[in-house]
Subunit: 361 residues, 2 copies
Amino acid sequence: MTERVYNFSAGPAVLPVPVLEEAQRDLLALPGVGMSILEISHRSKKFDEVILGAEADMRTLASIPDNYQILFLQGGASLQFSMVPMNLMPAGGKADYIVTGSWSKKAVKEAQKVGEVRIAATTEPENFARVPHQDEIALDAEAAYVHFTTNNTIFGTEWKSDPDAGDVPLVADASSDIFSRRTDVSRYGLIYAGAQKNLAPAGVTLVILRDDLLARSPEGLPTMLDYNTHAKAKSLYNTPPVFAIYVMGLVLKWLIAEGGLEAIERRNEEKAGLLYDLIDSTEFYRGHAERDSRSLMNVTFRLPSEDLEKQFISEATKAGFDGLKGHRSVGGCRASIYNAFPREGVEALLSFMKEFERTHG
Amino acid sequence: MTERVYNFSAGPAVLPVPVLEEAQRDLLALPGVGMSILEISHRSKKFDEVILGAEADMRTLASIPDNYQILFLQGGASLQFSMVPMNLMPAGGKADYIVTGSWSKKAVKEAQKVGEVRIAATTEPENFARVPHQDEIALDAEAAYVHFTTNNTIFGTEWKSDPDAGDVPLVADASSDIFSRRTDVSRYGLIYAGAQKNLAPAGVTLVILRDDLLARSPEGLPTMLDYNTHAKAKSLYNTPPVFAIYVMGLVLKWLIAEGGLEAIERRNEEKAGLLYDLIDSTEFYRGHAERDSRSLMNVTFRLPSEDLEKQFISEATKAGFDGLKGHRSVGGCRASIYNAFPREGVEALLSFMKEFERTHG
């Protein structure tokens, strides 16, 4: 195999090697089709198999009930920041947002263009080092929905259990931890996710939406921004991002073959556990996130000084560990270890971190 | 090489084999990078090279002036149907639309949600068998812009010279013939194109936009729908469709290596000429488009009966000619022969058509 580095990027991020190998093998012509997946019509029988197969596998993997639509869209979570309020918030309506990081804040900004936004909770005063406790969240029973971000890539925090929204539909931006652990889809009104962290290459956006919410979309929305358009057309109203959906299908098959969400959750807990155990065992590395909010996907940590952090990242890069620089809002380092990130890469980083502490500590 | 059929699909469509081969070779790890293009961060140095390289090559290929922005977006032409009026039509404003087919009509429908739309010309009464002559087009000098579709995939018609819009910005949906012939970008205010016919796999949308038009976007647009967002961020406001942009870059390099737009125009004229010459030489095949509106990209034709058409398509498919079924609005057959469609495939189809006529005529 071609030389590959350990890719700790926050997204786009590492994909499973068997998925890359299958995509590579068939890139000139899909078996029995005689064309590349990059060239096939989205109205072809073969692509029907691809997209319906991806949907079916996703329903199996995450036990998604029949009354939920699965939509394959474009524009990333950033476009969902607008589509969610445009579709789900009635004119003159209001919605509750729980703010746990930069992405939540962007979601708020777009929703404010559509209607009234209440901040039901925020941990910004603590530089988003944790997610709120349930008793800090003040929900409005009249809200059109409650929006939250399940995992915060920049700060390295993740909800251990979802906020309790009562009868108000819960809307989750799950871009960075979707299908990384067991989930009960029936608890949500809508889940959305840019694919480029845990699902696929960049270019496709997943929306899982409870049927009854489709009735909320007002008349006169731009056709492409109306969930009903895509639900009715089974994501084929216009040309979808064929290749990204195809790769997502391969990733879903890989997830099932690896043992499904329970197995992947255990593996993610072990991988993250290795790093957090090291961080907890020394004064040299300090975690940014509070213990009960620690993300299994993005491990954020600091070193004793910015100079040491710079040196750490530079030496790590040379040693084949890429993408460890933290986001400027937190500083320091961040190891993103999504589903496809291999355990041996975490172990190799651990050895590197121990050696770096020994020589620089 | 793996067995490949001749792919006459209207889009997604055939890509150049050398492009597919390079993408395949590097799919597990880009040389010197150690990660797949499907995994690299859009903030990485390598992706900067990819996207800036694609932009630079496009400027070279089509002599795009410096006062034009080149944006790599998502959502296809269908989302541009909304973004164009949302950005370019002031509140209470109006725009002129020239209607030459199904896509123009969809563009009109979305623009009507934003402001007043005048139909400056339409050839619908003739089932869109031609584009209008200049003297049939009634333009409004007060219009915010004039919108037209450069090539009509379904009907197989194409403008031989652009409508003259005077001082009103000309907006072109060039999804199906962009970079298939010489073009003078400075004649346009805005050109947009879904990539999946002549540029790249599905999943990226090209917008070429004259700088001064950016000032028109009103306050309060959804951030993702404001051209200014993407112009300011150089298409990196959020994660772009990395792989589709990478392949577009390879296609642009291929176009330059093949001799640029002048050479590709000549080649496209020759390829289409072969088919139109056959159609003109017999009563068995009849073209749908009028001669002076014939598309170089999509050759639409009928046979003496629907039964023969069915038989033709079925036998052609068995013989390795895929995607020849015409759109239901026209019926019959359609051969889409975009830039990357090889001349030998056209020649093979010609032989097949002659033989079919000999045995069924």
